[in-house]
Amino acid sequence: DVKVTQSSRYLVKRTGEKVFLECVQDMDHENMFWYRQDPGLGLRLIYFSYDVKMKEKGDIPEGYSVSREKKERFSLILESASTNQTSMYLCASSLHRANYGYTFGSGTRLTVV
């Protein structure tokens, strides 16, 4: 089975801190994605990447950036964390086009205080 591993399950950070969320997948998937999940809003796409060093903005990229230096790793960066970025962050990967479906990580619950 494909595994998507997110480095932290829970994080607590202070307002203004720079935060790195790491995601690693082990099955050579081309595509990787970062979503945030909030009650009543479902999953909203922040950024995605379809190749190494390639990235595209999703629906809510403001306040975030990403890095993909290696195919298996996709990092989400909060340049200056704010309380409205308190959320569950989900990483996913997929083979080729999204019609194969995604494999999700377990999520990182980030609290910004």
Binding site: G42, L45, G58, A98, F104, S106
Partner: protein, 114 residues
Amino acid sequence: AQSVSQHNHHVILSEAASLELGCNYSYGGTVNLFWYVQYPGQHLQLLLKYFSGDPLVKGIKGFEAEFIKSKFSFNLRKPSVQWSDTAEYFCAVNGVDSSYKLIFGSGTRLLVRP
């Protein structure tokens, strides 16, 4: 732009009741459709998917969904729910010509009472 609507945010059923969760999407072209499930404390898992062919799709754990193109709908059904079906369910759509992205609905929380 693509969008997905799940009109039922919370559903409460007793065991053995039948389930139908609504999903409507907005997209002008050909779509691939998915239902994902998130059990408490677990990661999102694929329940079933539709690409083409028979519009009635069967998934894991006795779930099925029917794609009705004229209604832009992809409703999830199960004839008899179990307590273990308590979870949050997400409908998602991928426009075939938008290739990479899945757009998710806001989710439906299902609580099954024993």
